[in-house]
C-alpha cells in the first residue's frame, strides 16, 4: 500500500519533470512577455489617471499569471487560469457589482461620488452681480512678474489694471495700446467695432496659448476687489476674454466638507451663514437635516434595503408591477406550451415512416430558428403595422392607410396576442428539433407492442411516447421557460414593450412589458431620463431569485419523471 503510493508520487514527479521542448519555452516567453508588456502599459496609463486601486489589482493579477505559468508544477491551474480570469471579470464581477448597486441610490441625480457632487456645487457657487463688465487681456508686470488682468470696460472703453486682492486702477489713455482686433472677435462690422487694450506701460502681454495649466489656474483665481468690505465679491475672468463682477455664494471647508451660505437664497430656502452638511441620502442638507432643503448635486451612497422596500411598498409601483409580473408568467408559460405543442405536432408528423422528403421538410422547418431573431422580429413588426401592414391590408382585407384598421401593436390585448404569435413562430422550430431528436431514442418496439395490445394511436402517444418524451425534454422546457422569462429581444424589438399604459403615474410601462424590459426602462437605458440604476439592480436580483428558484424546484421535479423509466 505504502509502496504503491510512493510509486505514484514518483510517477507524478517524473511526469512533471519531463523535458519541455524549445518551442514550448519560446511560446511561453513570447506569450508571457506580451501579457506583461500589456500589463505594464495598462499600469502606466492607470497611474497616469491616478487609478491606484485598479493598478494594484492589475499588478497582483499579473503576478499570479506569471507565477502559474513559470512554475513547473500545478498543471491544472495552467489550463484553468484563463477561463477563471474571464469568469471573474465578465460574470462574477458584474454579478457582485449589480448586487452592490441594488443597495445604493445610484441614479440620475446620484451620479458619481461625493467629490464630483462637491465639484458641481463649487462650480455653481457664484452669482453674477450688477455692474460693469470688461474685455480682458492677460498681462504680467515687468518689475515683479505679478499676474494681472488688463480690463477694458465694455460700457465706456475706460482701461484699468486689475491685480489680485486689490481694487482696479485706471490706466491713463497714453499708457496702454489698443489691440488691432475687435474686442468682439466675431463682430460683423470690423470697421466700427470696439477695440480693447492689449498691453499697458510697465506690463508684458501674455498669450493664453503659451500658458501652463498652473498659470491658467492662477489667472482664473485672480480676484479684483470691488468693495474692500466684501471679500466674496470681485471681478473675475472664467474664459480669459471677458471679466464680470461676481459674488461667491458658498464657501467650502475642505476639512469638514461642509458648505456655508455666504448670502441668502432668493427663494428664501436658506439664510446667509447657514451650514450645509452631507446627509446619508447623498445630498447636502441644511444643517444636515434630511428633511430640510438640499443643494442640487447628489452622490451615490449605500441605502441598505431601501430599493427593495420601494419595490414592495411603493403605491405607484404596485399596480404596474403586479401587471408586469402576471404578464411575464403568462408570456413565458404560454410561449413554452404553444411552442412545445406546435413543435411536437410537427415533429410527430414528420416522423412518419412512410413520409417522403423528410429531410427537406425538416430543414425548412428549422429556418425561422436559423434566421437571426432580431431581423425576423423587425419584419414581423412591419407586418403587424396598423395602417399599411401586410396582415391588415392583405390577409384581413382592410383599407390601406386607414386609422380604423385592427390595432395590432397599439392596444394591449392585440399587442399581447401579436407577441405570442411572433414568439410561437420563432420558438417552435427549437421544440421541433429537440422533439424530433428525442423521438429517435424511443424504441419502435414500444409503440409496436402498444399497437398489438390494441391501443389507439392517441393512446399510444399519450401513454407511451409523451411520458418518455417528457423525461428527456422536461429540463429543456424549464430552460425554455427561464429563457422566455427574460426574453428581452422579442418584447423590446417588436413593440418596445408598448403600447404605453395610460393609467400609470411615475413609471414608464407598457402593455407587453415583461419584468426584464420594465427593469430596462427603470434603468433608463431606453433613452428615458429617470435613470434609477439602484432600483433596477434590486429588480434584477429579484428576477434572478425567481428564475433561479423556479429552475431549482423544477429540476428536482424532473427526477420524479425519471422514475418512469
Amino acid at each position: 500500500m505504502v509502496e504503491e503510493s510512493k510509486q505514484k508520487t514518483k510517477q507524478k514527479k517524473v511526469r512533471d519533470e519531463r523535458p519541455t521542448t524549445l518551442a514550448a519555452i519560446l511560446w511561453k516567453i513570447v506569450l508571457l512577455g506580451l501579457t506583461d508588456a500589456v500589463v505594464f502599459l495598462l499600469v502606466l496609463v492607470m497611474v497616469g489617471q491616478e487609478r491606484f486601486t485598479e493598478s494594484i489589482v492589475t499588478v497582483i493579477v499579473a503576478i499570479i499569471i506569471n507565477w502559474i505559468y513559470l512554475r513547473k508544477r500545478g498543471l491544472p491551474a495552467k489550463y484553468l487560469a484563463p477561463g477563471v480570469l474571464f469568469l471573474i471579470a465578465f460574470q462574477i464581477y458584474i454579478l457582485l457589482f449589480s448586487g452592490y448597486t441594488a443597495f445604493t441610490n445610484y441614479s440620475s441625480s446620484h451620479n458619481g461620488d461625493q467629490a464630483l457632487a462637491i465639484n458641481t456645487i463649487k462650480n455653481a457657487s457664484f452669482r453674477v452681480i450688477d455692474g460693469e463688465d470688461f474685455t480682458v487681456s492677460l498681462v504680467k508686470q515687468n518689475s515683479n512678474g505679478e499676474r494681472a488682468l488688463l480690463l477694458t470696460s465694455n460700457a465706456d472703453g475706460q482701461v484699468y489694471i486689475g491685480k489680485d486682492g486689490k481694487e482696479k486702477a485706471v490706466v491713463a489713455p497714453g499708457d496702454y495700446t489698443l489691440s488691432k482686433d475687435c474686442a468682439d472677435k466675431y463682430a460683423e462690422d470690423k470697421t466700427t467695432c470696439a477695440h480693447a487694450a492689449y498691453t499697458a506701460k510697465g506690463f508684458t502681454p501674455v498669450k493664453v496659448a503659451d500658458l501652463s495649466l498652473f498659470d491658467k489656474n492662477k489667472y482664473l483665481s485672480l480676484r479684483v476687489v470691488l468693495d474692500p468690505a466684501k471679500s466674496n465679491e470681485g471681478i473675475k475672468t472664467a474664459d480669459f476674454s471677458s471679466a464680470l463682477p461676481i459674488e461667491t455664494t458658498f464657501s467650502f471647508n475642505e476639512k469638514t466638507k461642509w458648505f456655508t451660505a455666504l448670502i441668502a437664497d432668493d427663494s428664501g430656502n436658506y439664510a446667509a451663514g447657514d451650514v450645509f452638511k452631507p446627509g446619508n441620502d447623498g445630498f447636502y442638507h441644511l444643517n444636515g437635516n434630511l428633511k430640510a432643503y438640499n443643494l442640487s448635486g447628489g452622490w451615490r451612497v449605500e441605502v441598505g434595503f431601501k430599493n427593495f422596500v420601494t419595490i414592495f411598498t411603493d403605491q405607484d409601483l404596485r399596480k404596474p408591477l403586479l401587471k408586469v409580473i402576471s404578464w411575464t408568467f403568462i408570456f413565458a408559460i404560454s410561449t413554452v406550451l404553444s411552442t412545445f405543442v406546435l413543435g411536437m405536432a410537427v415533429a410527430l408528423l414528420f416522423n412518419h415512416e412512410r413520409l417522403r422528403g423528410k429531410k427537406l421538410y425538416r430543414s425548412v422547418m428549422i429556418l425561422p430558428y436559423a434566421f437571426p431573431a432580431f431581423l425576423s422580429v423587425y419584419v414581423w413588426a412591419g407586418l403587424f403595422n396598423r395602417e399599411n401592414g401586410f396582415i391588415n391590408t392583405v390577409i384581413l382585407g382592410q383599407t390601406p392607410g386607414s386609422e380604423a384598421n385592427f390595432p395590432w401593436l397599439t392596444e394591449e390585448g392585440p399587442a399581447r396576442l401579436a407577441v405570442l404569435l411572433v414568439n410561437l413562430w420563432l420558438g417552435f422550430p427549437y421544440m421541433f428539433l429537440i422533439v424530433t431528436g428525442a423521438l429517435q431514442s424511443i424504441p419502435a418496439e414500444l409503440t409496436e407492442a402498444a399497437t398489438i395490445d390494441g391501443a389507439s394511436p392517441w393512446q399510444s402517444f399519450r401513454l407511451i411516447k409523451l411520458p418518455l418524451l417528457l423525461v428527456s425534454i422536461a429540463p429543456l422546457l424549464i430552460s425554455s421557460f427561464a429563457f422566455n422569462f427574460n426574453n428581452f429581444t422579442i418584447i423590446y424589438l417588436l413593440n418596445k414593450g408598448g403600447p404605453a399604459d395610460s393609467s400609470v403615474v411615475g413609471y414608464d410601462v407598457g402593455g407587453t412589458d415583461i419584468l426584464i424590459t420594465f427593469v430596462y426602462k427603470i434603468a433608463g437605458f431606453n433613452g428615458g431620463t429617470g435613470q434609477n440604476y439602484g432600483l433596477a439592480s434590486a429588480f434584477s436580483i429579484l428576477i434572478f431569485l425567481v428564475v433561479g428558484s423556479l429552475s431549482l424546484v423544477s429540476f428536482r421535479r424532473t427526477r420524479t419523471l425519471e422514475d418512469i423509466n
Binding site: 502599459l41 502606466l44 496609463v45 497611474v47 497616469g48 489617471q49 440620475s108 441625480s109 451620479n111 458619481g112 467629490a115 464630483l116 465639484n119 458641481t120 462650480n123 455653481a124 457664484f126 452669482r127 453674477v128 463688465d133 470688461f134 465694455n154 472677435k185 466675431y186 460683423e188 493664453v208 496659448a209 500658458l211 501652463s212 495649466l213 491658467k216 473675475k236 475672468t237 472664467a238 474664459d239 476674454s241 471677458s242 464680470l244 461676481i246 427663494s267 445630498f283 438640499n294 442640487s296 448635486g297 447628489g298 452622490w299 405607484d316 395602417e387 392607410g401 386609422e403 397599439t410 404605453a500 395610460s502 393609467s503 403615474v505 411615475g506 437605458f525 433613452g527 431620463t529 435613470q531
Partner: protein, 415 residues
C-alpha cells in the same frame, strides 16, 4: 550589473511613459471635444472646421453620438474622465436632468452683457436652470397656426372663430400631445408650472404645477366640449392631405411639416406655396381674450463639467460657443440647413425667408421648462388630456384636478 542596467532602463521608460500619460489632463486646456448627434454633426461640421482654422491653438474633435442615448453615456463618461467639453445640438429641456447628474458646468461668469444681448428674448433663458446658464443657444423651434389662404383669407383673432371640422392637429389616443395643445391651454391662463413672480430669476419655471385651479378646470371643460369634432381624430395621418386639399382651414404644427406642405404627398400631389397657398399665423386669443403662448424649444451647446482632477476646457468651450452663436455662423446654419437662428441679428437677416419670419413672428419668449419635473409631466398630463378630448371623462374638471394632484406628487418624488 546587467540587472541594474535593465532596472535603470525600465525606470527611465516608466518615467517617460508616465510623464506622457500624466500630461494627458494638461492637454485638456488645448483639447476641445464636442459630442453631437447625427443631425447636428451634419449641420455644424463646416462651421466647426472653420473654427478650427481660425483657432489653431485648439485641437478640436467632433464626435458623433446617438441622440437617444447620449445623455446616458455622458453621465457615465464624467465618472470615467472621458467626457467631452461640449454637448452640441442638445435639447434645452435636458438641462435640469443633466445638472442634477453633476454633468454640466455654468458659464454665466463668461456671459458679458454684450453677448447676452445678442439673442432673441427667451433663447438664453432656456439655457438657465437654478439661476445659472449652462450653455449657449443654437437654433429654435416652435409651433404656429398654418392657415390655408384660399379657404381662410384672414388670420384668426379669436379661437371662437374656429368652427368644428376646420382645424386639425396630431395627437395620440393614449398620451395626447400636450405640446401641441399647450397654446389652447394657455388661452385659459393655465401654464404647466408656476413661474417665479419676482426677483433676479423672475419668469423662471418652478416645480409647482401651475395648471390647477379655475383656469385648468375651465380648459378641461372647454376641451371636452370641443372634443374630437373640433381637433380631429387622434393619430390622424390624413392631416397633410386634408390641409392641402382645403378640407380643413387650420393646422397646428411646426416648421418640420413645411417641406411636406410645399411639395405635397401621395394622394394630394400638388403642394401649396407660402403667401398664395398657406400662411403662418400667431395663435389667436382665447375665449375670454387671454393671449396664449406655445413652447419655445432651443437646441444648443452645453458646457460639460469634469471631475475635480480632470476639468473641461471652459475658456476653449466659451470661445467655441461665441463662434457658434455669432451672427455669421447662425445665419450660415439657417442658409445651409434651415435652422431658425437664436441670434437676433442673424434671425433678422434670415427673415427674408417668409417661413422663418412666419414662425419667428408667431413665437413668444416662453421656453419649455427644462426641469426634470417636465419629463414626468408629459405623460401624466397627456394621458388625462387624451381621455378628456375623446369624451371618456364625465366630469373633465374633476379629472383634470386629479391629474394636477397626481402630477405634483410625481414631481415631488423627482429629486
Amino acid at each position: 550589473m546587467k540587472l541594474r542596467r535593465v532596472t535603470g532602463l525600465l525606470a527611465a521608460a516608466g518615467v517617460i511613459a508616465g510623464a506622457f500619460f500624466a500630461s494627458a489632463p494638461a492637454n485638456a486646456t488645448t483639447n476641445l471635444t464636442i459630442w453631437a448627434d447625427k443631425g447636428t454633426v451634419d449641420t455644424i461640421t463646416a462651421r466647426v472646421n472653420a473654427f478650427k482654422a481660425a483657432n489653431p491653438e485648439y485641437t478640436v474633435t467632433l464626435v458623433e453620438k446617438d441622440f437617444g442615448t447620449v445623455r446616458d453615456i455622458l453621465k457615465q463618461s464624467v465618472q470615467s474622465n472621458t467626457q467631452p467639453d461640449i454637448l452640441a445640438g442638445a435639447a434645452h429641456d435636458w438641462i435640469g436632468n443633466l445638472v442634477k447628474a453633476n454633468v454640466l458646468a455654468p458659464i454665466d461668469s463668461s456671459l458679458p452683457a454684450s453677448w447676452k444681448d445678442d439673442f432673441i428674448p427667451g433663447a438664453l433663458t432656456a439655457m438657465k436652470y437654478n439661476g445659472h446658464y449652462y450653455g449657449a443657444p443654437g437654433w429654435t423651434e416652435n409651433i404656429a397656426i398654418i392657415r390655408n389662404v384660399k379657404k381662410a383669407p384672414k388670420p384668426l383673432t379669436s379661437v371662437n372663430q374656429i368652427k368644428d371640422g376646420e382645424l386639425e392637429l396630431n395627437y395620440s389616443a393614449t398620451t395626447s400631445d400636450p405640446y401641441h395643445f399647450y397654446p389652447f391651454q394657455t388661452m385659459f391662463g393655465a401654464p404647466v408650472f408656476a413661474q417665479v413672480a419676482s426677483g433676479a430669476n423672475k419668469g423662471d419655471w418652478t416645480d409647482t404645477v401651475g395648471m390647477g385651479g379655475k383656469p385648468g378646470a375651465d380648459f378641461a371643460t372647454w376641451l371636452k366640449s370641443k372634443g374630437t369634432k373640433f381637433f380631429g381624430p387622434p393619430a390622424n395621418a390624413k392631416i397633410l392631405c386634408d390641409f392641402i386639399k382645403g378640407k380643413i382651414k387650420y393646422w397646428v404644427t411646426g416648421a418640420w411639416n413645411i417641406n411636406a406642405i410645399q411639395s405635397g404627398a401621395s394622394g394630394c400631389t400638388t403642394g401649396l406655396k407660402i403667401g398664395t397657398g398657406y400662411a403662418i399665423d400667431k395663435f389667436p386669443k382665447g375665449p375670454t381674450g387671454i393671449t396664449p403662448h406655445q413652447f419655445l424649444g432651443i437646441r444648443g451647446y452645453l458646457m460639460i463639467a469634469g471631475r475635480p482632477g480632470n476639468p473641461t476646457n471652459v475658456p476653449g468651450a466659451v470661445e467655441f460657443m461665441k463662434y457658434m452663436t455669432s451672427q455669421s455662423t447662425q445665419f450660415s446654419l439657417y442658409d445651409n440647413f434651415n435652422k431658425t437662428p437664436a441670434n437676433a441679428a442673424a434671425l433678422n437677416q434670415a427673415k427674408n425667408d417668409p417661413v422663418i419670419k412666419g414662425f419667428a413672428d408667431a413665437a413668444n419668449t416662453v421656453p419649455m421648462p427644462n426641469s426634470p419635473a417636465m419629463d414626468v409631466a408629459w405623460t401624466v398630463w397627456g394621458k388625462a388630456e387624451a381621455r378628456i378630448i375623446q369624451g371618456k371623462e364625465a366630469k373633465p374638471d374633476v379629472a383634470w384636478a386629479a391629474m394636477v394632484k397626481a402630477l405634483q406628487t410625481a414631481v415631488n418624488k423627482v429629486k
